[in-house]
Each structure stands twice: as C-alpha cells, then as structure tokens.
C-alpha cells in the first residue's frame, strides 16, 4: 500500500479525478467503485484557527487553504512489466496534484505512517 496527499484547485476537480478511478455497474444499475483505495476528502483545510467569544461568535475568521485537499491510501497499484519489474505510480492524472510533506500532515490513516509509505 502507498499513501499520497493531493491538492486540487477546487472540489469539482477533485471529485472528477476520484470518479475517473475504476467503477462498474451492478445488475440493478448501481454504479460502484471496484478499486480498494481509501479516499479521504479533507476539503479546504484550516491553516490558522479562528477565534470565538463566549457566545460562540467569531471574533477572528479562520484562514483556510485555497486548495482542496485529498488524501489517498492506495491499494494494489503495483504493475509488473514483461521482464518482471514491479513499478508503483500514481493513477493517470493524479501525479501532478501530489504534494510532498516532511511530516505526517493534518490527517493520517490510523496506524499507517505517511512518511514510511508515501509514494
């Protein structure tokens, strides 16, 4: 398994890329993903916390990222060529949106280190 973190310009771009991953239609016409990846839509993450008074009212607005963040725990991405060489890479169109952090970030997959498993 591999973990990658991505930033998209907006939510629609992220959803489009997620929808491009393998899907199928069952006998009742329901569309469902056939991959085993775990995809977490973090959205516009908080860069600086807001401040609020005792009445809960906002006194200082939070600062949000202008990028839409998505974390993915990829499963079974390995591909083996004719000579038996195994390669692992982002699915088509995802690599350009990948970011590289030096820590674990604001989100993790329970018990699985991003630093030890990042692509």
């Amino acid at each position: 398994m591999k973990i990658s973190k991505y930033e998209f310009s907006d939510e629609a771009s992220a959803l489009s890329k997620i929808a491009s991953l393998p899907h199928a239609t069952d006998e009742d016409g329901n569309n469902y993903p056939t991959h085993k990846h775990t995809i977490v839509k973090l959205g516009f993450i908080v860069l600086e916390q807001g401040e609020y008074n005792e009445e809960a009212e906002e006194t200082k607005a939070p600062v949000l990222s202008d990028k839409y963040s998505v974390d993915v725990l990829w499963k079974d991405l390995e591909e083996t060529d004719e000579e038996g060489n195994v390669t692992i890479d982002h699915p088509y169109g995802w690599k350009s949106k990948a970011i590289d952090l030096e820590d674990e970030g604001v989100h993790g997959f329970f018990g699985v280190s991003y630093q030890d498993n990042k692509m």
Binding site: P62, H107, F110
Partner: protein, 389 residues
Amino acid sequence: MATPSLAMIPSAYADSKVYSVLPNNGDGDFTFDRASTATRVGQNGLIETVLTDIPRLNYDISNGVVQSCPSLLLEPASTNLVPYSQTFTGWSLTNAVETPNALISPDGNLNASKIVTSATGLDVKYTNIPVAANTVYTYSFYCNYVGGLGLQGRFYDNTNGANIEYYDYMNQIEEGKWKRVTRTFTTPSGCSNIQIWYLAASSTFPVTAYYWGAQLEALSYATSYIPTLSGAIQTRAVETCNDAGNASTFNSTEGTFFIKVNYINTTESFRISISDNTSNNKIILATLNNKYYYEVRAVDASISASILSNIPQTTNEVLLAGTWKQNEFKFFVNGTKIGEDTLGNSPNGLDTVRFNNLSTNQPFYGRARDIRVYNEALSDAQLTVLTTL
C-alpha cells in the same frame, strides 16, 4: 439437522484470514482486508488496537456484561474529525476545571479527563472543525457520570454564525459507569466549520463527569473508536471479507443459506452472497428498502426468487435463512416463514461466499455471528428452529 458444508462462527483468525469451522480443510476460510489499524472491544471488555489486516473479533458489552462469544465486526471507512480525542488539548474551558488522567478509561489506561463545572455559563468547546454542508454527522464520546444535573451538548455553525442544536444526554449516561453517548445531526446549508460544546444547564453546581474518546464522523451512526492522539485526524480503512469456499463446497442444485448478524444501521442496503463470482448465479440474504430480503439469480442473472419481508430493518440481532431448489425457494426471518416462490431455476456453479454483492458492491457492515451454508433445502420445521432467536 444436516451438517453445514460451510460454517463460520467467529472464533479464529490470522493475518488477512477469518477461519471457518467447516469445512476444516481451509477451503471455507475468508480472505480479510483492512489497510489500517482499528480498535475492538477485547475479551476483557477493554478497547484495544488491532493491526492492519487483522480481523476484529469484537466482544460486545450488553448491560455492562462482556459477552462470551465474539462477533466479526465489519465497518466502512470512517474519519474521526476531532483532534486529540482522548484529552482536552486545544479545547477552550470556561467556568470548568479539567483534571487530566483522572480515571481509568474504556481502554484500561489512566487517561480519562475529569470535568467539574463550577458555575452557570460553563462551556467546554472545540471551536474549529471543518465539515461539509448539508451532511449528516454523528458525534460520540464516552462519559462516566459522577453527579449534578443538566449535562448538555451543543453544535454551533461557525460559517453562518448560528446555533445548530443543543441536546440533553442525561438519559444516555449512568452514574459510575462508562457509557458511549451518540448524537446525530445535519450541518446546515453553507456550513463549513463547526464548534462542539459540552455544557451544563443546572440549578445546582458542581456538575461532574469524566470524558474520553471524542469522535465526529460523517456518518449517520457511530462506528468503533478511532483515536487521534497526535492532533491529526485519523481514518480507519474499509474492511472486506470474501472468497470463502470453492466449487466443491456448495451444492448449486439445492441448499440453505443462513446468517445471524447485526446490521450497522437501519437504512442502507447490505448484502451477503453465495455466487459464481458473477451476477449470473447468486443467492443473496440482504436488506432492501429498510426490510429483510432474499433473492436468487440463476443462469443469466434471471431472478428465480425475490422475497421481501415486511419486517423493518433494525440493528438488533437478526436470523435470516433462504433455501433454493428447482421451483422451490423459501425465506425465513427470526423463526417466521416470510414467503415462498414456486417457479424458478436453481443457480449454477456456486463457488464463493462474500460479505457483499460482488466486487465491492453493497457490502455488509455490522457484526456477523454465524454464517452457514447447507447442501440441502431444509424443511420448514428445521428452518423455524434454525432462525428462532
């Protein structure tokens, strides 16, 4: 009664494997997958972490008593959106005093916080949790109540500057015992950030309770606890459990499929199936339209039987059984014959039991206690006994 050709009563497991009792040659074992760690309630009644790809045999606690037989717990992916789920790090306290590490928590460690409220105007709040608008969330936490009156919770919409709701949870807690409080709510339109509050609307002070294990999930129900100890929110990966049996395990011509389970909620469609790994030949015990459902497809995915009960889907333990035989299909729920179809073909080539419909479609989420396949269509009397609680 006949001996099952496959029986999985949760009792033994290994990395990526749930063992079946029958057959005893390994052919009936399930392949299990979960790409993260997760928590379960162990045999000692305490919450403990299990490693990646280790199935969770969960020991339910009923009326404060740890049950002797575990269930196989299967859950969807879920993210705990509350940072620091076991402490009040990052929380704001007004007219309240926190004593960290004041009581043994549900994980058996001295890490639960004591909160004593000293006056009106109490609030204990976490003020910045990003959420999605128009989305159902469930907040849960463990509370051990000491005394006082009026404990409440509150959700506040930072984006619109408006209250979402206050709620009273006194009826979910009990003095001197750990209880998991749950509350489900929907974020308003435009809401992208919320506050979570504990407060006390009391005529007398102090009000005292211990807290541990806060969890906010974008689901209509609470799932097993996901710790967020470092301040980063955490996701538990989805679980799958499939591929038990082979062509020699099952009799496609006739048989009985039995399950004893608790579904994780009362609204979604869940399926457990025997199939030829396609949609062409398949036997399904399921929930559909919030009712219990039995379906058989044969040859080219043609429906041989489709029997929908009028019994509402619950999260309580339920026993379902369906039989198949040329022109004879029966469906029993909790000791009652729901219906019978008398025209249809038996399936061909059955070779696998899956905790879903096919691939990743319509998975079963909940607790499985007993899964059996018999190579004969049991009689009505036998089915009544088999499915009686």
